[in-house]
Structure formats: structure tokens, C-alpha cells
Symmetry: C2
Subunit: 197 residues, 2 copies
């Protein structure tokens, strides 16, 4: 059966972004490349991890990952990723504000889901068929799926920095056993892949 | 020059113990062996990490690591570790309540320091001579030394469990760059050794 996976870059203190996101600051107060520099500086050393970020049959993300919130963005904003986003698959965006689906180039569609994480997962599973579903982020959405026991595999890309204060993975997630599937590291990032029990 | 090191077992969400510690529950609400089972179940696979926990020339710990707080313990409690604690060296206990030093068997002495982390470190450095100083725990003390930029090396032993709510490493620690020195893993624990920049 297809799996529900999440691969996400975190600081050592499990921050995935800073607070105060705006259109000019997609990662809020956190420098944009702080957690993602390894992807651009040494991609050949992280082929499997990078491939896994974009090999799902469908994606789920939060409204805050799709873009800045607020009235002025709701009708025209089409995500951070330009005309041809890297997903090439259906993306379900969890939101409180209904909006018509957006069809992008290259196979990405953004579908807005207003009735919760289980509905989004059901739609994503149906869209993905036999392929995996990826929970793309941000922290709040990953935490909701973890807390609900709906993630099968968690691949942390741990960057050697204590960020201090930001949007944090695992907040509100209760005791959960994991199994270490794989660990490897370069000087820029430590990859730890867990099965969620 | 000797270094200030900290090696500590944490959950994936950076908890080192649960809340509500008592004499019967040294790790509070957290099961005692949750983060430390690897030490007892497969010690031969973690020789370097275990040796590092007890190879310093002096140790610093918080009053809550030394034992449960409260009036009835203050005068008679001699730590969790029996007549011959595993430190075999001077241990400086950060506390608000003055107390005479305790001399244990095997070279461990507990000296109570009431004038703060810098004083404790100064005393520990003097006692350690050319050997390293170890910040033994708990979370609050490690966080104070990290926030003050006084730790040179941090060795995290990351156990594959999300604990959910407990005494957490990195709280109150601001942005801090680390350098990955070494990463290795067994199915029970991932060791990541960082230099603190």
C-alpha cells in the first residue's frame, strides 16, 4: 500500500521556519537558505533525499506553506514556485478559506481543502493511487498529522544550527515511538529517516 | 586547553526528562530507561560515548539532577548514585541553598555552588586542571551554559521516540551555529557530536 511520508529540514531545535512570514520573507525571520543550503550547495551528495521530496503521487501542505495569509493574497497568489512548481502532481492545501483549484504548468494543481486533515489525506490518497502521499509542511500541518498517527515515515534533515525560536516540529504531538531506518550525514546536514510506529 | 563538554541523551523532540520528579521517579513522568536503554542493552556498541560521559576532570550539574528538591532532602540526600558515584571527580552542584560539601567514596565530591554558572565553571576548570569539564545536566543547566556560549562540544544521543512534553534542551538558547564532528547510529540511538561555534 502507498505510504504517507514527510521529509523536512529542521534546525537542531526542530524549527522549520521563523515567525512573521511575509511575501518577501517566505521563511519568516529565518534566513531563507539557513535550513536548505545543503540542497543547493551539494545536491549530488543528497540525491536520494532530494528525490524523495518530489517523488510523491500527491502532496498536502498548510495554507502558510502555500503563501502568506491575508485578504490581499487570497485571490491572486499562486504559491512561491512560479508557473511550473516542482511537485508535478496534485497538491492539497489545508485552509479555512474556500478557493477554486489552480491548475499550474507541469501537472501541479492546487486544490483547497476546508474540511480538515483527514479529508485532505483521503483526497490525496485517491489522487496518488499506488504512489506515496507527501506531507510537505509546514510545522503545524506536520504536527497535526503526526498527532493523528497518520504519518508512516518521517525523514528529518537536521541542519547544524540552534535556531532559537520559530515554527517548531513536534509541538502538540504526544508520545510516539519511532524506528530508525537510516542515518547518514555530510558536514552540512544529518539525515535521519524514521518509521513512525 | 581543556574543553567544556556536554553529552546527553534526548528524545527526538529534545526532552531529557519528564516533569514532576520525585525520589521514586528520577526522570519524572518519563519512564526511567526510555532514553538510557541503549547504555545498558548494548554498551559494547557505544564504548566511546559511554566513556565520554565519565572521563571529565570535573562535573557540573543542576540541583534537580543531583536529586529531588525540597526541605526533607536538603540535608541528607547524597545523590542518586549510591556510596560510590560514577564520576570519581569533583562535582559542582548549582543550587540556591548552601550546603557543606559531601565526600563520597571513589573520589567523587559534591560541592554546592550558590553564586551562578560562571563561578561553578571557574571552580570546575580549576579542579579539572588539564582535563575536560563536563556539564552533566539537566536541561535547564545545559541550556544556561549553551545560552552563555560556554560549551565547546555537545554530544547528543538521540533516542527514536517523540516524548511530547518534558524538560527540554535548547529552551531559551538563541541562534547558535554548530559544526558536525561525528554522526553514527545503531537502531537504538543516533549519536551526533557537535562543536559549538
Amino acid at each position: 500500500m502507498s505510504k504517507v511520508k514527510c521529509g523536512i529540514a529542521v534546525s537542531v531545535d526542530n524549527c522549520v521556519a521563523g515567525h512573521n512570514m511575509t511575501e518577501a520573507k517566505p521563511f519568516g525571520d529565518m534566513p531563507t537558505n539557513l535550513l536548505h543550503r545543503w540542497m543547493f550547495d551539494e545536491p549530488e551528495q543528497h540525491k536520494a533525499e532530494l528525490a524523495a521530496l518530489t517523488d510523491a503521487g500527491a502532496y498536502i501542505m498548510g495554507r502558510n506553506m502555500f503563501g502568506p495569509s491575508g485578504g490581499e493574497y487570497d485571490k491572486t497568489w499562486q504559491g512561491w514556485w512560479g508557473d511550473e512548481p516542482p511537485y508535478h502532481a496534485p497538491v492539497f492545501v489545508l485552509t479555512r478559506t474556500p478557493r477554486e483549484p489552480i491548475v499550474m504548468q507541469g501537472g501541479t494543481t492546487f486544490t483547497f481543502v476546508t474540511d480538515g486533515i483527514e479529508s485532505a489525506l483521503k483526497q490525496a490518497r485517491a489522487a496518488a493511487g499506488e504512489r506515496d502521499v507527501s506531507i510537505a509542511g509546514g510545522a503545524n500541518v506536520v504536527n497535526q498529522y503526526l498527532a493523528a498517527g497518520l504519518i508512516d515515515e518521517l525523514w528529518l534533515h537536521i541542519v547544524p544550527v540552534i535556531y532559537g525560536d520559530g515554527k517548531r516540529l513536534f509541538e502538540g504531538v504526544g508520545m510516539t515511538n519511532l524506528e530508525i531506518l537510516d542515518v547518514r550525514s555530510t558536514p552540512m546536514v544529518t539525515h535521519v529517516r524514521y518509521e513512525v510506529k
